[in-house]
Amino acid sequence: MINSKIFLTGLKSLKGSRSPAIPLAACFVALGALLKDAGFNLQQSAASSLFTYALPGQLVMAESLLVGASIINIFLAVWLVNFRLYPMTVSLFPLLEHKSQPKWKYYLSCHFLAVSSWLIAKDSYKKINKRHRIDFWIGIGIGTWSTAILMTIIGYLSADYLNKDMLVGLAIVNPVYFFCMMIGAMKNLSVCISVILGTILGPVIYLISAEWALLFAGLIAGTVAFLLGSKNDE
């Protein structure tokens, strides 16, 4: 059903000098502490990472709860901030397709899609035979997902020992890691333009509309990069 050797290759991406375990630990420990602050109990905190597993959305949820937002508002705010997962899935899953593989693997394993797992898969899918790429992805996904859940629990339990300075220090780890990974992925012109223009437009459009900034910045920067890059990369 699942090729265990390939699955383990995916799981092992948690090790080594490119490991996502440290940034995942940093941000989910901080999240665990934040959720405790927001009035969650341990089971609820773990369930949040188990079922949502997307940090920016979970942050939005916690902050919305603290200011007393309604469920509908929370739903919309989370949807807007996590909509990035849609283009991310479409830019990864076709690379993992194989006729011999059952569809349920794709439908279930899309839950593992997050920035860390996506960047790892995009960086290393070529090393794996097309037929087994989905098993490789499931390995990466189980590894990053379970790390996130475990670290949320640790963060919740150690919340009383974490002071503000430590939490601020932990918060920078995530953007630094992802920026480095994206710079590592800048191998052709269209990705270079996407990353540079997106980085600029994200904060600029945020000044005009906080909610829609990501969607618009992504669409504009991505389309410009596609148009300019496709002539050059061919």
């Binding site: 490119r18 009035g39 989370v78 899309c110 590592g184």
Partner: protein, 107 residues
């Protein structure tokens, strides 16, 4: 805050997140790797991610807002330099970033 409301919030957040992933998996069935639309999605994915990260550095939410923007940008530049000069080691720049911010934020 009531426990029921928290559970509802977790369900709403999880659904709002899973919709995008699942729609992505469905769309992917019709998208060929060699098509132009795939390349466009690839560009949009990278730029949306970059926009999110740019926003996290310039207009951070939560505790990160308690540091100066110049400090955050400086640390980012230093860490990218470390990443590029250590054959793309990711563990080193991430650990250094946390230590640097904790130290610089207390000066």
């Amino acid at each position: 805050m009531s426990s029921h409301f928290i559970i509802l919030a977790i369900i709403a957040t999880s659904l709002a997140t899973f919709i995008s992933r699942f729609m992505g998996a469905i769309t992917s069935e019709k998208v060929s790797v060699k098509s132009k639309i795939f390349k466009w999605f690839n560009c949009v994915a990278y730029s949306t991610l970059a926009a999110l990260l740019g926003r996290m550095i310039v207009f951070p939410a939560g505790v990160l807002a308690e540091s100066e923007i110049i400090t955050r940008v400086l640390i980012l530049v230093v860490c990218i330099f470390i990443f590029l000069s250590t054959k793309k080691n990711l563990v080193l720049p991430t650990i250094i970033s946390a230590i640097l911010l904790t130290v610089l934020n207390n000066i």
